[in-house]
């Protein structure tokens, strides 16, 4: 089958949606399908052969943070050309409610369209308020996929209609084995964190507070932190001076190094305070066989099977995190047990399984339908009331 996939976020910036699309595309190609992805990307970014660049993404404030997106009439014409030249049997848009390529693709295309919603946004009226603007595109979607129950709830509550839940996949093989970084995890124990350091909902500050408690009681314990930050020095300043040399910041790491980081720690912590729909990073840590300590948010409770495959602590509660992580650090047999449970739980999320589930959605929407084409209207902007 010929499949066209749109990515709303810049390909050269690491992110959950981009990675989802890459892994899905590669799993579908492995299964013998023809896949083309269009994504914002800087002109000098090396792209895999199946990705078409749609030009540089522009950083704009959206929904309280700054996102790098493609919008505007030039992006419209690039998407239009990509669809016309692609001859796709199905168009798969990701995050169509984000003002970027996916929304534009919905707008200019006709034919079978599948949409995947990734984000869970609790209590935000923003989708509701802006819905009239995106309705024209949204109404063309034939099949909807949500990556989690939380994302599905957002979709149902804010936009209406229903979605089939297909959780994110994990390229589990990629995480299974790697050499630890030299000198890690060390005899005193090590806790790992991956994610943006300056995004409050990733919860690093909760972990840093917990480390004050843990580090004071365990003289050899170290904290390994990998992820981009606008101001890394500021992060270190939040740690009290006596503990500072035991907090190691790696900055943004490559995909390969990320796997090594995971194999360099004894316990992995996901202290997110919300806004997470699946927690791909947590699942990857599970695929590396790490015992997990995660905040008790919907997404983590689901992937950790309600606490069977990892410890849950009260969201945002540093003392509770310190207690849960401390117990794991002290109990090697419990760590082994959780490691095995995490590996077993994450097998359900392998990309080969997920890609087959997604493909069956494609098969459903193409029944009795024609190929994907562009709308007749040329450069016009048809927006019915």
């Amino acid at each position: 089958m010929k499949i066209g996939i749109t990515c709303p976020y810049s390909w050269d910036v690491p992110g959950g949606v981009q990675q989802h699309i890459r892994d899905l595309a590669e799993a579908l190609i492995d299964q013998g399908h023809e896949v083309s992805v269009i994504s914002p990307a800087d002109d000098d970014t090396p792209l895999p052969p199946y990705v078409t660049g749609a030009g540089r993404a522009v950083p704009v404030p959206y929904n309280g943070s700054v996102a790098r997106l493609s919008f505007g009439f030039l992006s419209v014409s690039r998407v239009r050309r990509w669809i016309r030249e692609g001859g796709f049997d199905v168009l798969h848009v990701h995050e169509p409610e984000i003002p970027s390529l996916s929304l534009l693709a919905c707008w200019v295309a006709t034919g079978p369209i599948v949409a995947t919603v990734h984000t869970a946004i609790p209590r935000s009226r923003i989708l509701l308020v802006t819905y009239p603007v995106v309705r024209t595109g949204m109404e063309k979607i034939n099949g909807r996929i949500a990556v989690s129950e939380a994302a599905r709830t957002t979709l149902v509550e804010h936009i209406g209609g229903d979605a089939v839940v297909i959780p994110n996949g994990v390229a589990t093989r990629r995480y299974r084995k790697a050499d630890p970084l030299p000198g890690w995890p060390g005899s005193g124990g090590a806790i790992g964190f991956l994610g943006r350091l300056d995004e409050p909902r990733k919860g690093l500050s909760v972990l840093l507070k917990a480390f004050e408690i843990l580090g004071a009681a365990r003289p050899g314990l170290r904290l390994l932190i990998a992820g981009p930050a606008a101001n890394a020095a500021e992060v270190l300043h939040r740690v009290s001076a006596g503990l500072r040399d035991r907090v190691v910041l790696l900055g943004q790491v490559s995909e390969d190094d990320k796997v090594r980081v995971l194999h360099s720690v004894d316990v992995f912590c996901s202290p997110n305070t919300g806004g997470e729909s699946f927690g791909i990073v947590t699942a990857e840590a599970m695929a590396a066989g790490l015992p997990i300590v995660a905040s008790d948010i919907d997404a983590f409770r689901q992937v950790l099977r309600g606490g069977q495959a990892g410890e849950l602590f009260a969201t945002g509660d540093a003392a509770d995190l310190a207690r849960a992580a401390g117990r794991l650090l002290d109990d090697a047999s419990r760590r082994t047990e959780l490691s095995a449970a995490a590996l077993a739980a994450v097998a359900d999320y392998d990309w080969s399984v997920v890609a087959r589930a997604v493909f069956s959605v494609y098969e459903t929407v193409v029944l009795g339908s024609t190929q994907v084409a562009v709308t007749a209207a040329g450069g016009d902007f048809p927006q019915d009331g």
């Binding site: 522009v58 950083p59 704009v60 404030p61 959206y62 929904n63 309280g64 700054v66 997106l69 493609s70 919008f71 505007g72 009439f73 030039l74 992006s75 419209v76 003002p99 970027s100 390529l101 929304l103 534009l104 707008w107 009226r125 923003i126 308020v129 802006t130 009239p132 603007v133 995106v134 024209t136 595109g137 606008a230 450069g379 902007f381 927006q383």
Partner: protein
Amino acid sequence: MITDIVIVVAAALLAGVYVSWRAGRIDRLHARVEMARAALDVTLLRRSSVALELATSGLLDPATSLLLAAAVHGTRPGESGVAAPAGQQGSGRPRDLAESDLTRALRAAFSQPGFRASLSGKEGADELLAEVEAAAHQVFLARKFYNDMVAATREARRRPLARLLRLCGKAKAPEFFEMDDSLVAERSSAPLGL
């Protein structure tokens, strides 16, 4: 003897008149700050409403429309911290950040290469773009006037006599309103990442 008394009384009277004039001036400054603030609020609201009109005009592609509509939504009372109706807690970003977000969204739309050319000839496009720019410029002016007034007031409050005699009473020192308000990208403006 009598002349001495007359001089003392006259001096006391003069001092009283002077102090009362100074107090009156500080009072007037505070009142003018409030007026300038009200004017600034009006220009911000006007800018939001014109931006929303542009977003829903159908002139733009839906992605740009959505960006603008979302940014406007963020500046609404109750969404941003300031100017929420009494008894209602503002929930979102502080007002200055929300308004700066709207500036950046507008700037992102307006600074696309060929933006104007792509809209020229469409009905009402030129007028609407001109209106957005005018509204943005008024925000710039109103904010400048407001901040000037705040500076003058704070200066008057800082004088030794004003502080000694507490001439400003219970009135709080007015705060500057800082935001990114330029539709043209400048090298000196704050980086987008905040």
